[in-house]
C-alpha cells in the first residue's frame, strides 16, 4: 500500500464547536459509505478552514472567501466527486457573500457547510456578519444566510444545525450529502458552532434554538412559509434549526451531465479524439 497523507488532529481550542462539525461529517461518510478518494473537501480560511486537515478526503485550502467558486468549478469538472465546501461565517457571509448569492442562484452540485460562530475566530475575535443577536432589529442587524437563501429562486436545500443537537446535525449532514450525491444541486447547511475562546455563544444559543424538525405543523417545502416562520421565530428571539427549505430540481449542468457520450471528468479528455472537429472548426476561418 502506498503511504499517503493521514488526517491529523485538529488544532482547535478544546470546546470549539468545529469539532462537532467534523464529527457529524465523518459519521455521515460512514452512514453513506462514501469513499475518501471520491470526496473533495474544500475550505476557506479561518479556524473552520482547517477541517480538511482532519478528515479523510482530498483536501483543499482556498483563499479567504473563495471556496464556493472553487468547489463549483471542481464539481462541474468532475461530477463523479462528492464536493464539499466548508468555511466560517466571516468567510461565507462577509468576503464571500457575493459568491454565496451566486452559489444559491446557480445550484451547482456542492454541499456547503457554513460553520457559524458569530465571530472571526482565527483573527482573534472581531465581529462577523452574524455577530450581535439574531433577528434583533438594530441598525447593523446580523445576516441570516438561510433567509437570504430563501430569497434567491435557485435554492434547493437550506438547513441549520447546532453542534449541541448532535442527532439532528448528523441527520441534516446525511440529507445534505444525499442531496448532492443525487445531483440535486447546492445543499446549504449552516451549523451553529460556537467559538469558546472569542465569543462563547453556547449559553445563548442553547437557550434560543428552535427545532423546526420537531414542529409538526412545519413543512420545509413552502418558500414563503419558511420565510415567514423564520421572521416570526427571530422576533421571539429564536433561531430555527432543522430542515428549513427543500426543493427537488436538477443541479446546474444537469442537461449536459445526461449526455453520456463522453467521460464526465473533463480531465479524462484526450484531444486527439477530437481531431476532426478541430479541423472542421478551423475550416470556418479559412479565407
Amino acid at each position: 500500500m502506498t503511504i499517503t497523507y493521514t488526517p491529523t488532529n485538529p488544532v482547535w481550542c478544546s470546546g470549539c464547536g468545529h469539532y462537532g462539525v467534523k464529527g457529524a461529517l465523518e459519521r455521515a461518510f460512514d452512514v453513506l459509505g462514501i469513499q475518501p478518494c471520491e470526496t473533495m473537501l474544500l475550505t476557506g480560511i479561518g479556524c473552520s478552514g482547517s477541517i480538511q486537515n482532519n478528515v479523510n478526503a482530498y483536501g483543499y485550502h482556498s483563499m479567504h472567501g473563495r471556496v464556493l467558486p472553487t468547489a463549483t468549478g471542481a464539481s462541474i469538472a468532475n461530477p463523479d466527486l462528492t464536493v464539499i465546501a466548508a468555511g466560517g461565517d466571516g468567510d461565507g457571509y462577509a468576503i464571500g457573500a457575493g459568491h454565496l448569492v451566486h452559489a444559491f442562484k446557480r445550484n451547482a452540485n456542492v454541499l456547503y457547510i457554513l460553520m457559524n460562530n458569530a465571530v472571526y475566530g482565527l483573527t482573534k475575535g472581531q465581529d462577523s456578519p452574524t455577530s450581535g443577536s439574531f433577528g434583533q432589529a438594530i441598525a447593523d442587524a446580523p445576516i441570516d444566510g438561510i433567509a437570504m437563501g430563501l430569497s434567491i429562486p435557485g435554492t434547493t436545500f437550506l438547513a441549520r444545525g447546532f453542534i449541541r443537537q448532535a442527532d439532528q446535525l448528523n441527520s441534516l449532514m446525511v440529507q445534505a450529502l444525499e442531496h448532492v450525491r443525487a445531483k440535486k444541486g447546492f445543499a446549504f447547511l449552516e451549523v451553529l458552532s460556537p467559538c469558546v475562546t472569542y465569543h462563547d455563544t453556547y449559553p445563548d444559543w442553547n437557550a434560543r434554538f428552535y427545532d423546526l424538525d420537531a414542529d409538526r405543523e412545519y413543512t420545509a417545502e413552502d418558500r414563503g412559509a419558511a420565510f415567514v416562520k423564520t421572521l416570526a421565530l427571530n422576533e421571539e428571539g429564536k433561531i430555527p434549526t432543522g430542515m428549513i427549505y427543500h426543493e427537488d430540481r436538477p443541479c446546474f449542468g444537469a442537461d449536459w451531465l445526461e449526455n453520456d457520450s463522453s467521460p464526465a471528468q473533463l480531465s479524462a479528455h484526450d484531444p486527439h479524439n477530437h481531431r476532426d472537429e478541430l479541423q472542421e472548426l478551423m475550416g470556418r476561418y479559412l479565407m
Binding site: 500500500m1 502506498t2 503511504i3 499517503t4 497523507y5 491529523t8 469513499q35 475518501p36 478518494c37 470526496t39 473533495m40 474544500l42 482547517s50 486537515n53 479523510n56 478526503a57 482530498y58 483536501g59 483543499y60 485550502h61 482556498s62 483563499m63 473563495r66 464556493l68 467558486p69 472553487t70 468547489a71 463549483t72 468549478g73 471542481a74 464539481s75 462541474i76 469538472a77 468532475n78 463523479d80 466527486l81 457575493g98 459568491h99 448569492v101 451566486h102 449536459w256 449526455n259 467521460p263 471528468q265 473533463l266 480531465s267 479528455h269 484526450d270 484531444p271 486527439h272 477530437h274 481531431r275 472537429e277 478541430l278 479541423q279 472548426l281 478551423m282 476561418y285 479559412l286 479565407m287
Partner: protein
C-alpha cells in the same frame, strides 16, 4: 486636391496595387465594418495577405468609428504607415483619418451633409464626392444601405467586375432576409451608377489588384487563436466574465467548448472566474481563465495562490489602455509589470508573449501544457490589437499540438509508489500529483506554506526547502519556453526589442530603416518571465537597444533592466496615446534617436 467631376481623368492606366490599405470611417452604427469585410473577401481572393482592425470610440452608440483593412503581397502583422483609400461618411472621419492618407490617396466622401472640410486631405489626393446617405435614404429608404452603395463605387475604383462584386455581396449577406439582400443589391447598383457618372465605367478603374490566387490561409484574431490553441491542447474548462477586449475568448469558448464536451461558465465576477478555473484545474481538467487589465488586477491574490499551492492555470490577459478603467478599446502594453510582479510574495510564474495570430495559437496550446507541467500560473499576454484584429496566417498545424500533463499520476502509478506526497521535494522542483478521485492519492493542497504532505508548516527549514523547490521549476521549464524571433543584420550593434502588437510593426519598420541605410538587428522575446538568457545576451551584444513599447513608463524596459540588462543601453521608444505605431512614425523616431547618438 482633385475633386473628381471630370470623367476624362480616368483615362490613365490603373496603378497596380499589391499593398493597399482601405479605411471606412463614420459614426458608430454607420456600418463601416460591412464594407471592410466585403473588401477583405475581395483582397483575399487576389492572393493578398490581410490585416483588419477597427477603431471604436468608447461610446455606446455614435462616436467616431472606423474599420481598416490592408491587403498586401507580403504578410505584415500590422497596418503599415498610411491609408490608400478612405471612405468617409462624415467630417469627423476626415479629421480623424485624413492626416494618415498617402499622397496619392483616393478619398470617397459622403457629401450628404455638405462639402468635405478643406486643408486636411493631401492636395495630391483624388477625391470622389458622393452624397451616399442622401441617395440611400432617397432611393432605398434606409441610411444603412450606404455601405453596399459605397462598396459598388469602390469595386469600380479597384477594378472589380460588377458581377463579381455582386457575388461577394450575396455571399456575405446570405443570411439576410431576401428583402434586405435585395435592398443591398440595389444599393450596389446605385454605386455602379455613380461610378459611371464619375467616369469609372466598367474596365476603367483607378487601381488594379494583382492577379494572385486565393491561398489557403486562416483569417483570425489573436483572441480566437489563443482560445483555439487552448482547445486543441485539450483545454476543457473556461470561466470568465465579460470585459473589452477579452470577451471574445469567453464567447468563443462558450460557443465551441460544448461540442468538445467542455464547459464554459460565465461567472459572477473575475474572482469567481479564476477560482472556478482553480476548482476545475484541481481535478486535473485543463483550465483557463482570462480577462483584460482591470479584471486581471482583481485576480492578483488568486494568481499568487496558484503559484503557492502549485495549481496549473492559464490566464489570458487581453491588455487594454489603463490605468483603472482607462480606455477599454485602446491599445496599451501597460500590464507587464503587473503580470511579472503582481500578486503577493515570491512565486514561480510564466509570462508568454505571442506576436501574431499563429503564435497565439501555438502559445495557447503551449501554455496549456506548461501550466500542468510546471503546476503554476502561465500568462498569455495579448494586447488590444493582437486580441481583436484579424490577420491571415498559415493554416494551424493541428498535428503538432501535443498534450503533456506533466507529472499527473494515474491510479496505477500511485499504487506503484512507496509513498505519495503531494508536495514531494524533487530535483526539478515539480512534484508528481494525483487528482481527487484517484484511489490512494489522498493529499492536501493549500496556499499556506506546508510540508511535503501538504500540512501547514511554518518551520523555517521546511520553508526554505519549499521556496527553493518552487523556484527551481523555472529552471526546469526554461528549455520548453519559446525562443525569441531574431533577424536583421547580426553584425550591427544596434538592436530593437518589442513584443505583441509591436512585433508586426517592427518587422516592417526594420525594412524601411534598412532601405534608409540604418542597419539593425531585431529581437522579439516570446517569454517575458522568466527572462531567457538569449535576450540578455542580445542586449549585451549591442551598443544600444531601442525598446519599442506601448507604455508611458516603459514597463518592458524596466522588465529588461530588472532582469539584469544594462539599463544604460536601453532607449525607450514609447507610444501611449492608445493607437499603435505607424511604421513610418516608428522609423522616424528611431532615425531621430540614431541621429542624436
Amino acid at each position: 486636391m482633385n475633386v473628381m467631376t471630370n470623367p476624362g481623368k480616368f483615362q490613365a492606366e490603373p496603378r497596380l496595387c499589391d499593398d493597399l490599405t482601405v479605411c471606412v470611417a463614420g459614426q458608430g452604427g454607420d456600418g463601416s465594418l460591412t464594407i471592410i469585410t466585403l473588401l477583405a473577401d475581395v483582397l483575399a481572393h487576389h492572393g493578398l495577405h490581410l490585416y483588419r482592425t477597427s477603431n471604436i470610440a468608447s461610446r455606446i452608440k455614435g462616436g467616431h468609428a472606423s474599420a481598416l483593412v490592408r491587403g498586401s503581397h507580403e504578410q505584415f502583422g500590422g497596418l503599415g504607415s498610411a491609408i490608400n483609400i478612405l471612405v468617409a461618411f462624415d467630417e469627423e472621419a476626415i479629421r480623424m483619418r485624413g492626416q494618415y492618407l498617402t499622397s496619392d490617396a483616393i478619398v470617397i466622401y459622403d457629401t450628404s451633409r455638405g462639402p468635405m472640410p478643406e486643408g486636411i486631405v493631401p492636395h495630391t489626393a483624388t477625391v470622389l464626392p458622393v452624397p451616399f446617405s442622401r441617395f440611400s435614404v432617397r432611393e432605398l429608404r434606409r441610411d444603412l444601405f450606404k455601405n453596399s452603395f459605397g462598396f459598388g463605387l469602390l469595386s469600380r475604383v479597384i477594378g472589380l467586375n460588377d458581377d463579381d462584386a455582386d457575388d461577394y455581396l450575396r455571399n456575405r449577406f446570405k443570411k439576410l432576409s431576401a428583402r434586405a439582400l435585395d435592398g443591398n443589391r440595389q444599393a450596389l447598383k446605385l454605386g455602379f451608377g455613380v461610378a459611371d457618372e464619375l467616369g469609372l465605367t466598367p474596365g476603367k478603374s483607378m487601381l488594379q489588384l494583382p492577379a494572385g490566387e486565393k491561398q489557403k490561409r486562416l483569417f483570425i484574431t489573436g483572441n480566437e487563436a489563443a482560445a483555439f490553441g487552448f482547445l486543441a491542447a485539450g483545454g476543457r474548462f473556461y470561466a470568465g466574465y465579460p470585459i473589452t477586449p477579452a470577451t471574445e475568448v469567453m464567447d468563443w469558448l462558450g460557443a465551441n467548448l460544448p461540442q468538445f464536451d467542455g464547459v464554459m461558465v460565465q461567472a459572477e465576477d473575475e474572482l469567481s472566474a479564476i477560482n472556478m478555473a482553480i476548482g476545475a484545474a484541481l481535478t486535473g481538467a485543463r483550465a483557463m481563465t482570462g480577462s483584460s487589465s482591470p479584471g486581471i488586477a482583481l485576480m492578483g491574490e488568486s494568481i499568487s495562490h496558484c503559484g503557492s499551492a502549485e495549481i496549473p492555470m492559464v490566464i489570458v490577459n487581453s491588455q487594454r489602455a489603463g490605468p483603472s478603467t482607462g480606455m477599454p478599446t485602446k491599445i496599451e502594453q501597460g500590464d507587464l509589470g503587473m503580470m511579472i510582479s503582481g500578486g503577493n510574495g515570491d512565486f514561480p510564474r510564466i509570462v508568454l508573449s505571442p506576436g501574431d495570430a499563429s503564435e497565439c495559437f501555438e502559445i495557447g496550446a503551449l501554455a496549456t501544457n506548461l501550466a500542468q507541467i510546471a503546476q503554476c500560473p502561465v500568462f498569455i499576454a495579448l494586447d488590444r490589437a493582437l486580441s481583436q484584429d484579424s490577420m491571415t496566417v498559415p493554416v494551424f498545424d493541428l498535428d503538432s499540438v501535443e498534450m503533456n500533463t506533466g507529472k499527473m499520476l494515474s491510479a496505477t502509478e500511485v499504487a506503484e509508489l512507496d509513498e505519495y506526497k503531494r508536495y514531494s521535494v524533487t530535483e526539478d522542483g515539480i512534484s508528481p500529483w494525483a487528482v481527487p478521485g484517484t484511489p490512494g492519492g489522498m493529499s492536501l493542497v493549500t496556499g499556506n506554506e506546508r510540508n511535503e504532505w501538504g500540512q501547514v508548516s511554518a518551520e523555517p527549514g521546511n520553508r526554505v526547502t519549499m521556496m527553493d523547490k518552487r523556484a527551481r521549476k523555472l529552471g526546469t521549464i526554461k528549455p520548453l519556453l519559446p525562443r525569441a524571433v531574431s533577424y536583421g543584420d547580426t553584425s550591427s550593434k544596434i538592436g530593437i526589442i518589442g513584443v505583441g502588437v509591436a512585433a508586426g510593426i517592427i518587422s516592417e519598420t526594420y525594412r524601411l530603416l534598412e532601405n534608409d541605410g540604418v542597419r539593425l538587428k531585431v529581437h522579439r522575446p516570446r517569454v517575458l518571465f522568466p527572462m531567457l538568457d538569449e535576450t540578455l545576451d542580445f542586449i549585451a551584444g549591442c551598443d544600444r537597444v531601442y525598446v519599442v513599447e506601448h507604455s508611458e513608463s516603459g514597463q518592458l524596459e524596466r522588465v529588461l533592466s530588472g532582469a539584469g540588462a544594462n539599463p544604460d543601453k536601453l532607449h525607450g521608444i514609447r507610444k501611449y496615446d492608445g493607437t499603435p505605431f505607424w511604421t513610418d512614425e516608428l522609423a522616424e523616431l528611431i532615425k531621430d534617436a540614431e541621429g542624436a547618438q
